[in-house]
Symmetry: C2
Subunit: 357 residues, 2 copies
Amino acid sequence: MTKVHNFSAGPAILPAEVLQQASEACINFDNLNLSILEISHRSKNCIAMVDEAKDLVKELLGFKDGYQILFLGGGASMQFAMAPYNLLRTEGTAGYVNTGAWATKALKEANKIGKTLVVASSEDKNFNYIPKGYEIPTDLDYLHITSNNTIFGTQMKHFPKTSIPLVSDMSSDIFSRKIDGNDFSIIYAGAQKNMGPAGATMVAIREADLGKTSRKMLSMLDYQVHIKAESMYNTPPVFPIYVSMLTMRWLKKNGGIEAMEKLNQLKADTLYAEIDRNSMFKGTTAVEDRSNMNVTFVMNKPELEAEFDKLSKVANLSGLKGHRDVGGYRASIYNALPLESVNALIEVMQEFEKKSS
Amino acid sequence: MTKVHNFSAGPAILPAEVLQQASEACINFDNLNLSILEISHRSKNCIAMVDEAKDLVKELLGFKDGYQILFLGGGASMQFAMAPYNLLRTEGTAGYVNTGAWATKALKEANKIGKTLVVASSEDKNFNYIPKGYEIPTDLDYLHITSNNTIFGTQMKHFPKTSIPLVSDMSSDIFSRKIDGNDFSIIYAGAQKNMGPAGATMVAIREADLGKTSRKMLSMLDYQVHIKAESMYNTPPVFPIYVSMLTMRWLKKNGGIEAMEKLNQLKADTLYAEIDRNSMFKGTTAVEDRSNMNVTFVMNKPELEAEFDKLSKVANLSGLKGHRDVGGYRASIYNALPLESVNALIEVMQEFEKKSS
């Protein structure tokens, strides 16, 4: 089969060996002669698998005691609601740094639950940069940030320093670079970018920050209910958790986050260098805020896009179309994307430049 | 490999050919040379797959115009909250028929949202029967029922006749018998029993019944938000939907619900006949309310359970342990379980009777 270079923004490329293991477990999981798709989530083997996934998250993000790991359904969009639902007091205010479409959605949900304050925003320039130098009031119930903006191609290189609980949506750059998980109150991430397939969302919670609201909570929206049931209050999304666990195992085996961060930096540097060099393209974001995960760029002569698309197709490049809010192109270069695929894209960019200039 | 007879209550047995197709799609979906786990949910092939799943639900349940099909994360437990959240008016009352642990949980969530009325209950006899002959007030916002009670092994053979919107949790007997979907306002079902693997919940909604509350709704809990986005408001649980779609295709190819209902009746009749005949066992529920999906039975001499368990293990019978609320045994005999597995269980029951009497 021809190799497809998968630049999809999410659901996104996963390691070939993980896909192979996932495929095999659909027939026979853990030598039980049963599929992973048809065993009880309360079986010994399934519980051990979910526990391994939790332990890997703890290890990869360096959590000390006091953190609980959940794998929930509903995507990061559910966390846009659950974070304020669990943390925002009736009399309190939540702070938001608005750096893009997803941050805006998170803010919108919080507004339905309580009072919010936009501490900083880059909406004035279509979110093409990360705000800096803003003040964070110390009486907020929490500060919500988005570590990487999948659509706009920006990434927070440094996290706000603050004494209030920090909540981060890390859906599109979790496990891509070294962070200290203990700096955060809540980290959540939809699995379908750097962690696994669609259908599971990882939520890491500093348990001491919970229980401060008086809200009467729906069970499925209550972190404490899920924590008490060890992430099995209801039947969890078993297979998406399994594939996430396999991907974390793969990551650990391949040098862990340090090795991944180096490779991601190399891939990003290589691709951005070509964007800056190539006379046909230009980047869309502030240089210092460029994402190492989602590389956004546009064509200097947009009327030639069809020609570039044709060359991309011939070279088996997939998933390059930019989001409608930015236009142009977006190359998502998550952990599992090899440098080889970045080079394949660069070759096409260079071929296109030669043909067109 | 030795054949395992999988009587798990859920996640539960799926057809072997579906598991094979699922396994293959983890490597190469739709001949794209990409895994189903790594393609965009907005890609042409993925949208076509989800559309096929919706169409199959409509066909199998016989829905006329006006119904919308969603596949959501969060399980049936999320629907315990979403149904009242979307249907129960501030000034209204919701009716519940309480037939077991899951119905009780559904009621508990509704109580957090508004006023409820328990129209009928079988709690007085540990839920071992289905209440009958009760009156349904006509001024309720809706009536909630549980068509099959996985834990207690009872099944509603006839649905309440009423003019008010009928909401049914059909998690454990969806697609197992002929019903007219148009009798219901909402049908929801966690996939992981008769429909597919864990991680997706099907919700069928009569759209005209929505929009009657004044509640300010969180987006992810608002059916209308999901309907407007054609079940892709956020990234859906792609793989669980895919396997559900494959299972529905398999069902249709094998004679549809009519053929399945006949086979299910035969499996249930065969197994209940043995329970009634065998001097070592007895059923736990009212005979007329026995579930054709979850067959619950206990031993007349519970001290011999370990001996029976040993024989079951040798015969590769899996997942027979009863729920702690009932004790004894539970054989879940969902659509995908072949008659051959029921016969294997009966052989062990007979062998045990011979040895023990």
